[in-house]
Amino acid sequence: MGFKEKCFKKSLWVFHMSAGSCNNCDIEILDCLTPKFDIERFGMKLVGSIRHADVLLVTGIVTRKLLPRIKEVYDQAPKPIVVIAIGACACTGGMFKDSYTFKGPLDTVIPVDAYVPGCPPKPEAMLAGVVKFLNKK
């Protein structure tokens, strides 16, 4: 593992995008920043702009309205970028798979690197997903 990859893994800046979620996964993502889980130990932090991000967290089913937006956000991100699908909706569509607004799941729209299932997934599950992905890479 080179120094460049090490720096990348040690300072993952996370941008969070909601693609039509019910806000439950988003609250669980914010839980990762609280004192109990504290992802800043690993150098991760939430950033406000996609231009600074290394990780794109997507929650929710990809709705018809958000399909062009999510493609555009993915294009605006500086590469290399890691895309992580959070929650059952982003992974498979979940209980909304027959909905008329459903245009997903996420991996049919943009390439996805890691999936974290659950409705909503626990913060421990999200951390475990990121760690597993980084160890594999």
Partner: protein
Amino acid sequence: MGKEIFYFLIFPGLLFSGIVGGFLSWFDRKITARVQFRQGPPLLQPLYDFIKLLTKETLIPKRGSQLTFLIAPILALFGAVISSVFVLLPLFGIKTGFLGDLIVIIYLLNIPSLSYMIGALASGNPLAAVGASREMKLILSYEVPFLLVLISIIIKSEMSIKLSEIIAFQTANGAFIGSISGVIGFIVVLMCIQAKLGLVPFDMAEGEGEICDGITIEFSGTTYALVTLAKYIMLFVLPALVVALFFAGMNFEGINILWSILKVVLVVLLVTLVRNTNPRVRIDQAMRFFWIWMNLLAVVSIILAILGL
């Protein structure tokens, strides 16, 4: 000529102030984490962030002025490094500087903020334009009290506008923080530093939640790495300037070296604690705060300085 290049690039310029600024940025984040009962990032975190940003893809906005957009971060870094050279040479006692270098330092300390503004306006992003306009208003607010406090310091040091003479005056007659006008001036300058560094409560130019990082929204990869490095350096230069103006500068003989380092760390600690105990204010509240209350305190400080207190 070779000596000047050494001053600019290695010590006390780019390399030294970059490393110390990175350490202070880690210290800032660690203290923030401890205040919130968290663990905080590891010591090498600023280095990891910087190298990662350097090796990432740099995106240039299609609309807007591309050359200006690329030059702005370099200009910001340049201003930060030059101001660090001008502040640190008299502070470390390497060179005495020239007559009126305090005024040059005031101008140079503004270059980073101005360059972020130029870069943001050149990117053609509406949110960046909002951030740039807020930064402009913020500069207009904090510059006046900052200059007034400097006038009070100049009066106290018997009309000297040379940084090394101000430090020498304090070593002979006691630090300015020991007098009433010095304490009032220190409070005002602490608030101005907070605004100059763009930290909470005066970070409305880059409010993450409302305008998505504002002035830095379009910077990515190498350009954002340069912006980050300029911010690290400013986090070291401004506390160093405060140490020179209020705490009688630095002394590198024996045990005094520890005391000198503690002075800088203390100022950064105060900045961090102010940042962690306050919410972000709106731009109009910030302007009212600086123009009415901070100006009032600065004028009181000048009057007390004239009276000799």
